[in-house]
């Protein structure tokens, strides 16, 4: 209930000194907004966002191979055969999905019928498990199935945004659309995914066996190699290390196959990356180093940037608080006369100031949202997500990119840190004055 008194007093002080409050809140808002932009970018890259709501359990598996002399040859994904042999019986996997590697994404032209308005679309070639691993919201229809995959059926799942662009309205499921002037049957319509989510966003999803896919590309007759990236949703309680151990058992077979087909010895490097490792690598370590220490070390960089972004405004705000504390010296004297201890008063001042800082924090949070909304189509912003400027399609944003408990917590921590940096020293300096001197000080 003491907190209520602090809040009441803070509000009364805001009314009393409107100019100070307005400037303080505005300064705080700008500081929090700049720090929150960093947090938001990080959240969009790493947080659980529709449909990638299990990013914390999602592992991306690729592979590299080098000659025995260490010469780097290149990156390869897996062939459908490798996916079947290596991944279909994994103990630690809840769902395994094979997706044609992102690097091979290319554009299609779509229209409802030949001769109607055409739109450029992005495509993803996947298996049906893709829609289990990622929690897509089906507005109509359902995903294609294993049978469709096996038969390389020309069937697609499209987004609601594309359906709208094609002016198809509802009832498109079961009908055909034209992709590069070939008919494809629509089996489902899903809620659109923001293009900032590189692993899942596309306008159209279709089986990777469809002949336009390059999933079957292979490397020097090595049937294990192909264009597929494997994504594993770990069962709860299982770790990435357990997955690595399971995959290791396939190494001898794969290496002997490489040797028999090429006559050379090879090193095979299995890339097992958690989602965060795909988006965060400030130190350029080995990709298979993805320990908690490594994560914290990588997170320390944006955290440091956020701290710097808070520090400079904090110095200015500290000057303002210092002036305000001068005006409150007598009040501090009164409180001390009636038994307030310095540390209690310090706590009070910081909590009262926190009310102001939180007001600025809310404004800053909204400001960061507005800022990102305003710059979402810019080249610089898109480059942070491995995307390029698209002159035709505007980048869509989802609310769960901005308003989550984690982001609220980060915003609160930013406010608390800023508040401490701004109020601690002026408050402490003011409280050091002798009581009599404080009581005699005129407001």
């Amino acid at each position: 209930m003491k907190v209520l008194i602090y809040i009441r007093q803070a509000l009364a002080m805001m009314k009393e000194d409107k100019q100070f409050s307005a400037i303080y809140i505005a300064g705080t808002a700008v500081a929090i907004a700049s720090a929150m932009v960093v947090a938001l970018v990080l959240h969009i890259r790493m947080g659980n966002i529709y449909p990638e709501v299990n990013r914390d359990r999602t592992i991306y598996v690729g592979s590299n191979f080098t000659r025995s002399d260490g010469e780097y040859i290149g990156y390869s994904g897996y062939s459908p055969q490798a996916v079947e042999e290596m991944f279909s019986k994994l103990e630690c996997a809840e769902v395994v999905s094979a997706v044609m590697n992102n690097e091979y994404i290319y554009r299609f032209t779509a229209c409802k019928e030949v001769g109607k308005q055409e739109v450029q679309v992005t495509t993803k070639f996947t298996d049906p498990n893709f829609f289990r691993l990622y929690e897509f919201k089906f507005l109509e229809g359902k995903p294609y199935n294993e049978e469709n995959l096996k038969n390389a059926d020309r069937c697609v799942v499209i987004t609601d945004a594309l359906a709208k662009k094609l002016q198809a309205g509802s009832g498109l499921v079961g009908k055909t659309i034209q992709l590069n002037y070939l008919p494809y049957r629509v089996v489902g319509i899903v809620k659109e995914v923001s293009p900032l989510l590189r692993e899942t966003s596309a306008d159209i999803y279709m089986p990777y066996t469809v002949e336009d896919s390059r999933a079957h590309w292979y490397v020097e007759n090595v049937t294990y190699a192909g264009g597929l990236e494997v994504r594993v949703l770990l069962k709860k309680g299982y770790t990435r290390e357990m997955l690595m151990d399971e995959l290791e058992s396939y190494r001898p077979k794969y290496l002997s196959m490489l040797k028999s087909t090429t006559g050379e010895d090879w090193n095979w490097y299995i890339q097992v990356r958690p989602h965060w490792r795909k988006t965060l690598n400030f130190f350029g370590e080995e990709v298979n180093d993805a320990s908690m220490t490594d994560l914290l070390a990588n997170l320390s960089m944006p955290a440091l940037l956020m701290l710097l972004l808070l520090l400079l405004p904090a110095i200015n705000l500290s000057g303002m608080v210092s002036n305000q504390m001068e005006a409150r010296v007598a009040e501090m004297g009164i409180r001390k006369a009636f038994g307030a201890k310095k540390r209690v008063l310090l706590n009070e001042v910081i909590q009262e100031n926190l009310v102001l800082t939180l007001c600025g924090g809310v404004a800053g949070y909204l400001l960061s949202w507005l800022f990102i909304t305003a710059v979402r189509n810019s080249t610089l912003f898109l480059s942070m997500f491995g995307r390029e400027y698209d002159p035709v399609n505007s980048v869509s944003l989802q609310l769960d990119m901005f308003f989550t408990p984690t982001l609220f917590l980060i915003a609160f921590v930013c406010c608390a840190v800023l508040n401490l940096m701004a109020a601690l020293i002026p408050a402490w300096t003011s409280l050091k004055k002798p009581i009599v001197e404080s009581l005699n000080q005129k407001k």
Partner: protein, 225 residues
């Protein structure tokens, strides 16, 4: 009789780079429990300094202070002094010293808040003392919405809410007209007579001083009577 305030050989010297001012010189005072003592003297004679030292708001340059049987050690920490002030002393100042951003009830409950008393108990006791000083109808008002006399009543309520043994009043009627002044003095007398609280009051007003149980006079930092 029990001595509740004992000052022995108190000296207070204010030093700046250029001058040295002796505010109090070898002051020895005993105040008995339940006494209502007036301290009189011209401006600058050291009355307020004496009250500040009695109230542990200021430190003497030399000398000993004993309050309620406890010798106040110079090495006592700020925290312990704060606690002692909170439990033993109540202050009433000439300029009221109410916190302008708090309403009446929040101003009054301040000493209990720093004592760690729970919210409902604080509110209950604050309402009781506010009622006692006759301001029940002004609980939610802020100091700027009150008259001088009402402000001083709030200050008295704040001084007594913690049930301190000693009330130190520094010219409590100095900023009030004669009617309001008489009113406030009546309230202090009531606290002394009915509750048996010890009151030390600094005043310029001889008429008011005469209504208290004992008067001491100061001149140039020395007790002359």
């Amino acid at each position: 009789m029990e001595t509740i305030i004992k000052l022995t050989g108190i000296n207070k010297v204010y030093r700046t780079e250029e001058i040295e001012t002796q505010a109090l010189e070898n002051v020895n005072i005993d105040v008995q429990k339940g006494e209502f003592l007036s301290v009189m003297g011209p401006s600058g004679c050291g009355k307020s300094t004496l009250l500040n030292i009695m109230g542990l708001l200021d430190e003497p340059t030399s000398g000993e202070i004993e309050l309620c049987g406890t010798k106040i050690d110079k090495n006592l920490s700020d925290e312990r002094l704060a606690e002692f002030r909170n439990r033993t002393l109540g202050f009433v100042f000439q300029s009221f010293h109410l916190i302008s951003s708090l309403n009446v009830i929040d101003n009054v409950q301040l000493p209990l808040m720093y004592r760690g008393v729970g919210y409902s108990e604080r509110i209950k006791r604050a309402k009781e003392v506010i009622e006692r000083v006759g301001l029940s109808h002004r609980m939610k008002h802020t100091p700027v919405q009150l008259s001088g006399g009402q402000c001083q009543r709030v200050a008295i309520a704040r001084a007594i809410i913690g049930n301190p043994e000693i009330i130190l009043a520094d010219e409590p009627t100095g900023n009030l007209d004669s009617k309001m002044g008489a009113d406030i003095l009546g309230l202090l007398k009531q606290l002394n007579e009915e509750d048996g609280r010890t009151i030390v009051m600094v005043t310029h007003n001889e008429q008011q001083a005469l209504q208290t149980k004992r008067i001491i006079k100061f001149l140039d930092g020395r007790q002359i009577m």
